[in-house]
Structure formats: structure tokens, C-alpha cells
Subunit: 424 residues, 2 copies
């Protein structure tokens, strides 16, 4: 693909002149850039995102900025994250076809990806805040997680290719550093960039930050995230990275891609549904009018995990072509049951990891730098603090007690119990 | 360092003309290559190794061959392993000063390292076969393991440097592939390159290869080896990679270097001492004359682990400058005990991993391609089979029961019980 000379951030006014002669883009927007219009819609924390439309079509133009957008140029962040996002997308496209945007154009120097525009899809987080339902999304997200995570691992890949990808993505160190600090460390002490909303949370925050079992458990999870390079992760698989209509589901924004533990993506996803659940009372118009929707979200949690397990098991039985748990050792020796025993134990390990990571994500979204609209959009401070406190309590249970749940039914039961409580 | 033009394997006759003008070498051997003499002493499985002597001194010249020496040119192996050995040695030198050979000269194209000659040191494996003792080695090897493994990890290193090293060593894929196949897979089915010595072992081998719990446990360990990139491993830390005198200890041959779990090096080392223990009856001149020496070896096993734990704990308390278990979160908050709790749990995880890896190593050295002189040098086939069978039995216990030992005393007790048995 063509490369430009020196990095320049785009503006709505320069997009047409700068991109108007690139065939991969004019194929979608037509050859008259004067008829293009661009809107900057980036609501994430890091990048410029434009929707560029013409009478013929529309594309997304995503460009990295040389700093963290949420914070400003006091926090530099390398442009190469676009390179990693591009490589993550190509691999996700191959591993979970149809679920990530098609790439039309990548310019490494401009840190720029031009890709498929999903319409009328909206960000899942906003969809859930609005109390809307999609009956296929939970199943689809289980499939996405299983397919990308299984197929990016030594369970499936040629190992020298996997090692080359491990090395490639290891250079995405600055974005990993954000996760390492903002997710796994800052929330657990009085770090400079932390914020939490309500003085009502002060006592529970103090309790969590004084909780040694929690703080040790979280660091074990951080060690797994940093070291246990099982598969290519999305790395930021929250409800803000998922787009839906009533019956379609797409996954975007994998710039936090890194090799890490399978349970990380799974847990982050589960956690964001659990936070959506806890936030619902804050979005009530009249008392109790989100109760049914809350139960629907718990169904999502259950289905995401069940769908992940079913697809992971299917892939285990049909695509286990990597160097781990080889069929040579099991099925070819008449030991089919060994393969099933190993599968069950691996799913258990993923489960325990996922619950732990889910708990950490629940903490950092309330105590750290980057918050969730699920809670932020709650206008009433008391209501918001109540929702957040419940989420913090479940997070603590999930980290410390991760290995002790009998199954998802018990996690969901505990979630309901905490939601009924009266923490402030 | 200077690079030559095209790879050529050295011979005893070409060493002086080819290396005679390299200052880093003549510094040690003098400027008259005609006075140099070379002996090829490689008794390993992979490389050419020469001792080059002159009236002034002596050096080791180690050169990779483009194939596996043990097998021949039917098994190509890339020359770049010398590059990885060189980089491993520089890091080990910094992390465990004085315990690895000093490097005088590295030539990447020739896959050649000229390094310090240790004399009168002998390979520890031969030393143990001869029934000789060194009263400092066990402690030193615990220190070596703790220092290299702690200081190569996210417990200590700047994480972007660690990630760069992870990426660097990920390219050592072909040597990892040897470990992945020959250690973790081939021994557990009837693979082409396997060999075991005695028909007396056939029944136990059949039993182990039909043991589903064992075969599942081993693949979990393989997954840890392949994915859990905790630290820079030596990667081949058996008694053939250790050189001793009566009171000195050195570590050589890290070409299997890779990022992997801390417990791998520790377990491989423990395992080779346990095999030395089981092999002793085969080296008796009269019945029971190695009994005291066997007990001494069990003391080595105990001391290696205790020394590792003590040094690892010391480094944890004084050099924990990495991104994991940060003092910011613990000591700086008055939670010194959280740091100790985390240390205890990490040592437990390393312990469980190490026992498992030890068990696998005991199997592959008897059932796989690369055997140990400890057993191979036993002339009497019945005696050798008895020693090997005991080792196989302990290996199975260590893999399947790794998480269930109360401590090293119980491992040692089980080892003694198995040694007293009458397996054939």
C-alpha cells in the first residue's frame, strides 16, 4: 500500500484532498472528492475517527494521534499503534470472518486505517444504556472470542508463525503499558490519574485499597496478563468496542492487541456486561422499569460464556492442529477421552482467569482514569454511587474468589444478591 | 565484533590460521598461532567444541553446525542458535556474575563464540557418575537459578526491555521446537526417534503411554513452557550444562534460551539430580557402596531448592523494581505483609511447576531421543533397567501429583521409597 511522506493529522477539511486519489478509497466513495463530507466522531480515548460519506457510500477513517486524546499531548503515545491495529484486524478477519471491519487502505506513516463503515450499527454500550436488546449478540460474541482466541494460539497455529506474531505484537509495549498500569495497578492505590465520582465511595475505596488478599490476587492476574502469551488478544474487548443493530454484531478497535491469556478478553467482556447490569437502576425513569432488562443482561452474561465454551470445544475437537494437546498423543492412540479431559481442564483455567480479570476491570472502570458511560451517564450522584459500589463489591468477590465458583449460575446469583443490597 | 564472509565449519587444523589474527583471542593465546593446539571435545548433541591451547593460555571455541550433531545432516538446525547463545551469555553474565564463561569473541556469520576455558572443571554429570562431591555447588546453583530467573523477569526488568528480549529470543524457534517435541510429546507415544534401552522397560512404558492423567498433565506443562514467558530461561539446565571442581561451579551452553516459566529451569535441574540419585546403584562396585553418596545427592536436591528460595526471596525484598507486585502497591502503603504473601504464593506456583517439569524431564531422558550418561553408562542391562524404571515411576508421580506435595521432604521421602522398591 502507498505510504505518505510525513505524518500529519487529518481534519474534516483535509480528508478529501489527501485521500481523494487513493483507489482503494474511491472504489467506495467515488472519484469526486468534492462530493465527500467528513465528520469527526471519535468518542474513544485515543484516536481521531472520521466518517467520510459520499453519494456513493461511506468509510471510516481512523488515525492515531501522537498522544493520548483523553489526556492530551502531555501523554505521548506512539503512532505505531495503527500498525498493530492493522495487523490485528487482518488476523481477526481471517479467524472470525465477517465480524470485524474490512480494511480498504492502510498507511503506516500516517498511522491511518480506512475501513468499512458499519451502519446503522451503534456502540453496544450506548445501546445497553438505552435499554435496547439484541438477541444474537451474546452468542455472536461467544463465537468471536472462541474463534479469535483459539485460532491465535498454539492450539491451532503453526508455532513458528505464532512465535513471529508474539514477537511482532510484543513491540506494542506502550499500549500494553496503559493496561498494565491503569487496569492492574493504579486503581489499587492513590495514583495521580485516578478519579472516582462520589465521596460516598470513599469508604469502600479505602477498604479495597487496604485489602491485602485483593491486592495480591490482582498482581497474580497482572503477571498472567504480562507473561502468559497464550493467544492474540483483542486487548480491549469491552462494550465500547462492539457495534450492534437489533440483529447484527461487529467488533472494532483492537489497537491494544497483545499476546496474553485467553481469559483476559473473555473476562473483560463479561465484566462490561455485569457493569451494564449494575448501572441499570441509574437509568430508570420510574423505579423498577429496568428490572426485566437487567435480567436480560444476565442472560447475555450466561450466553456469552456458554457460547464461548461450545465454540471453543467445537474448535478443540476439529481444529486442534497446533503443538499443544496433539491428536498424535490422544485420539491417534485411542485416547479420545484424554482430549476431552484436557479440554475440560483448559476451560476451567480460562474460567478462573476470566472471572479474575472481570473483577479487575470492574474496579478500574470506577476507580481509575478511564470510566464507563454506563455509570458516568447517571445524573443522580447517590444513584450512581450505589450502582458503582455494587459493582466494586462484585469485582472484589470475582478476584479473590475466582477459583471457588461452582459455575456461572453462582456468579449470576451473587450478582443479583449484590444488586439487591444497600451499599453506599 | 568482526564478521567473516561465509560460514565454514572449523577443524583442529584451520583454527589457528582462521582465528590467529583476532586480537580478542591472541590476548589469551599469544600472537604465535603456530604454537596453538586444538582438540575437538564436543560431547553434546549439537555443536563443535574445541579447546585451543597455547603456552600462554587456553580458550574454548564453540561453533554451531547447520544440523543436529547427534542425528546428522538429515536434521538441519539453523546457525543462528550461536547468536542466541551469545545474547543469553551476556545477560547471564550480568545477572549471575562469575558463573558463566566470559566471552572473548563472537562471529555471527561463523556461528562462533570464543570464550573462557574452565580448568580443571569437569562436567557435573560425569563428576556425579564418578561418585564425587562438591559441597558448594548445590547452593551456587540455587543462587544461579534465582538470580538469572528473577532478574530476567518483569519482577525486576524494565518491561519494554523485557518485551524486546522476549521478541528477540522468540526467534530461537527451532531449538524450542526440539524441547517442545522431544521433551513434551515424543516420550508419550511411539514416536520415530524414541529409544529405550531394555525390553524390561516395555511394560512400564506401555503403562505410562496409556496413562491419561499423565498425558493431560504433561500437555498442561507444555502449554506453560510454550506460552508462559515469565523469564529468560537457560533452557537446558541439566548436569551436563554445569561444570565443577571440588569447590567451584560454572554454567555453560544456554543455546536453548527462551522466555518461559521460572519453574522450567528449576525443575530440569532438580530432575537431573534425582536421575543421578536413581542411577547410582548401577555404578556400584560392590553392593551398597553408593548408598551414602545417594543420600548426599538428596541433600543436593534439598539445598538447590532451599538456596533458590532464599535467594529469590532476598531479591524479591530488595530488587523488586519491575511492573509486578510493585512496592508502590505494597510496602509504600504499609502493606509489607502483602508483598510477603505474594512471594509465598509465587514460590508455591514455581514449586508446582518445577515438580511437573522435573517429572517430564525424567521421562524424556529414558524414553526419548537424548539419553543421560547417568543411565547409559551402566553396563549391566538389568541394573540399568531397574534404575530407569524407578526414575520413570517418580517422574509420573511428580507430574500428576505436583500440586499435592507438602514440601521437599515429602518428595525426597517418596524418592527413597521408590529407590527401595523392586520395579522391573
Amino acid at each position: 500500500m502507498t505510504q505518505s511522506n510525513s505524518y500529519q493529522p487529518l481534519t474534516v477539511d483535509t480528508i478529501a484532498p489527501r485521500l481523494g486519489e487513493i483507489n482503494a478509497i474511491t472504489d467506495h466513495l467515488g472519484n469526486n472528492p468534492n462530493a465527500w463530507s467528513a465528520d469527526e466522531v471519535g468518542d474513544g480515548n485515543l484516536n481521531l475517527v472520521f466518517i467520510v460519506k459520499s453519494p456513493k457510500g461511506a468509510v471510516i477513517v481512523k488515525q492515531a494521534l501522537p498522544y493520548v486524546r483523553l489526556v492530551g499531548d502531555s501523554w505521548p503515545l506512539p503512532l505505531k499503534r495503527a500498525f498493530f491495529e492493522y495487523h490485528a484486524l487482518t488476523r481477526q478477519m481471517a479467524r472470525a470472518p465477517g465480524m470485524v471491519p474490512e480494511i480498504y487502505h492502510f498507511d503506516e506513516v500516517q498511522a491511518l486505517i480506512v475501513m468499512q463503515f458499519f451502519a446503522p450499527h451503534v456502540i453496544l454500550r450506548n445501546f445497553l444504556i438505552a435499554g435496547k436488546r439484541n438477541e444474537t449478540m451474546a452468542h455472536e460474541m461467544g463465537l468471536f472470542a472462541a474463534r479469535t482466541l483459539f485460532r491465535g494460539s498454539d492450539l491451532s497455529m503453526d508455532t513458528s508463525t505464532r512465535k513471529a506474531d508474539l514477537a511482532l505484537f510484543a513491540d506494542n509495549a506502550e499500549l500494553c503499558d496503559i493496561t498494565e498500569n491503569l487496569v492492574f495497578s493504579d486503581p489499587y492505590f492513590d495514583a495521580g490519574m485516578n478519579q472516582h465520582n462520589s465521596p460516598q465511595l470513599d469508604s469502600i475505596v479505602a477498604r479495597l485499597r487496604g485489602d491485602i488478599d485483593l491486592k495480591v490476587g490482582v498482581q497474580h492476574l497482572k503477571a498472567k496478563f504480562c507473561n502468559n502469551a497464550e493467544t492474540m488478544l483483542h486487548g480491549d474487548l469491552h462494550t465500547g468496542s462492539i457495534m450492534v443493530t437489533g440483529d447484527e454484531t461487529k467488533v472494532i478497535d483492537p489497537e491494544f492487541v497483545t499476546y496474553g491469556p485467553i481469559g483476559f478478553d473473555v473476562g473483560m467482556m463479561l465484566s462490561n456486561f455485569l457493569m451494564a447490569y449494575f448501572s441499570q437502576p441509574g437509568h430508570e425513569v420510574k423505579s423498577g422499569d429496568r428490572a426485566d432488562f437487567q435480567e436480560w443482561i444476565l442472560g447475555v452474561v450466561d450466553t456469552v460464556w456458554a457460547s464461548f465454551c461450545a465454540e471453543f470445544s467445537q474448535l478443540w475437537r476439529t481444529e486442534r492442529t497446533g503443538i499443544l494437546y496433539q491428536k498424535t498423543l490422544y485420539e491417534d492412540q485411542g485416547h479420545d477421552l484424554a482430549a476431552e479431559q484436557a479440554l475440560g481442564q483448559r476451560l476451567h483455567m480460562i474460567w478462573v482467569d476470566a472471572l479474575g480479570f472481570a473483577g479487575v476491570e470492574m474496579h478500574r472502570r470506577i476507580l481509575g482514569l478511564a470510566h464507563n458511560a454506563d455509570f458516568e451517564d447517571i445524573a443522580d450522584e447517590d444513584s450512581r454511587a450505589t450502582c458503582e459500589a455494587r459493582s466494586l463489591e462484585l469485582g472484589r468477590q470475582l478476584v479473590v474468589n475466582a477459583a471457588q465458583f461452582a459455575g456461572m449460575a453462582q456468579v449470576i446469583d451473587l450478582t443479583r444478591v449484590i444488586n439487591r443490597g444497600n451499599w453506599t
